[in-house]
Amino acid sequence: MPDAIVLDQVWKFYGDYAALRDYTLSVAPGSCCALLGRNGAGKTTLLRILAGLTPFQRGTVRVLGEKPRSDLARRELGFLGHGIGVYEDLSARENLEFFARVASVRDRKRVVDAWLERVGLMRVATMPVRQFSRGMRQRVALARTFLHTPKLLILDEPFTSLDDRAIAMLSELLTEARGRGATIVLSTHQLREAMAIASHVALIENGRLRYAGERTEEMLNDPGLLYRLHTELGAA
């Protein structure tokens, strides 16, 4: 049974600095892997490699059985990075229609309407995103990411700066995505939210994988446990 994501001895250098060192990880299809680690550990680099946005120097990466950036991988990918990835001068509707068109979403208008309704932006659908509050922008970004029903979701710190309502919405969307068999890889500092949704966790420190495995009940009850057990800082 092929894994949805395979990283085999991956090295990524920025100049002389190794951001990822001999990184090996597999993510089973349908699972949700929370990528944990402190700032600068290499989480974003790893997610960008998986999304095909950053080239790597050594090793092998397979996303849904394909190379990252292959046509097939991109069609099934929903990526949410640090930026919201929507245009300030277009309305929420125009943004979603554009990304739906690019993804060849069928019955585009109905799908966009449904997402606007779902993220609570129907009332302001024709307003430029420039005039939106931070929370509203995040909700447009979520709709953009989930719009084409991706089978793989790569989310870089998706809970950051979300309000309670948006956190609940995202958790619900992720649970639904898992329910339909989607694979999720997300990085986060919000340990409690991550542990609640994750089936697996991977801990990264200084570009090295320190721990990868199933999320246990102990982790759920004590989200900081993993750091204490498996990182040098935690051990110290």
Partner: protein, 249 residues
């Protein structure tokens, strides 16, 4: 769909497109990008205002610097126009990819099903339309202030403008993508593209000057038309072939 059926479908879950279907998809996506860029541009008028104002001001100033009625001035008309269009083009290209930087929209596009080739092609299409708009306005100003009857060969002149403008737009899209992440991209882009534009500009100037006259084009002058066609083919192919490398690597 259960996780098991999902796994089983991994190798073939999306039909692979080949040939015509793939080309049509690329074209459709490129048109979507162009439409989006034009919608933003017509709303903000960031590059249209700058490029249009630049072109009109230069043409106006030159009409005072030279005697517009003199034959010599008319002979440099084509050169003046295409230099203005080339410089106005840089203002348009600078905004083309810079528009994708706020909110990391470029990452959103590159991780979407949009191919890099579609993105470059779409950017070139949008720049092409904007530049043609600037050229049309400039030609009206040019006709008035230089007392130039440029409509003697409208079809031929339109063909030259379309071919040359597409060449400038394709080159601008390629190098606009290359310089998008540079800190000094506004300076770097013109420095890189102008030397490469020389053959296209010479051909466009020669043909435009010839078409401003009343005589039909000679076979020698028609050769410049071929230069335009070859330039367009080369840089359009380059944009397609190198899109992935330029935008991702």
């Amino acid at each position: 769909m259960t996780p098991d059926s999902y796994t089983a479908s991994i190798p073939n879950w999306v039909p692979r497109e080949r040939g015509l279907a793939s080309s049509m998809r690329t074209l459709r996506q490129a048109l979507s990008v162009a439409r989006k860029d034009l919608a933003i541009e017509f709303r903000t008028k960031e590059s249209l205002n700058a490029a249009g104002a630049f072109a009109i001001v230069i043409l106006l100033l030159f009409s005072f610097a030279f005697d517009p009625a003199a034959d010599a001035t008319r002979e440099i008309g084509g050169g003046l126009l295409w230099l203005v269009f080339a410089f106005a083009g840089a203002l348009v290209f600078n905004r083309g990819f810079a528009r994708e930087l706020p909110n990391e929209c470029l990452d959103a596009l590159l991780s979407s099903p949009l191919s890099a080739a579609s993105l470059l092609l779409g950017k070139a299409m949008a720049s092409f339309v904007l530049l043609l708009g600037v050229e049309l306005v400039s030609m009206i100003v040019f006709g008035i202030f230089y007392d130039m009857r440029w409509w003697a060969h409208p079809a031929e002149l339109a063909a030259v403008f379309v071919l040359a403008t597409w060449g400038i737009a394709a080159l601008g899209a390629v190098f606009g993508a290359l310089t998008v992440n540079l800190r000094l991209r506004e300076l770097m882009l013109p420095v890189i593209i102008y030397p490469l534009l020389i053959p296209l500009l010479i051909a466009a100037i020669e043909l435009t000057n010839a078409l401003f006259g009343t005589q039909p084009l000679t076979p020698d002058q028609l050769l410049w038309g071929r230069v335009l066609v070859v330039f367009d083919i080369v840089f359009t192919a380059l944009a397609f072939g190198l899109a992935e490398t330029i935008l991702v690597n």
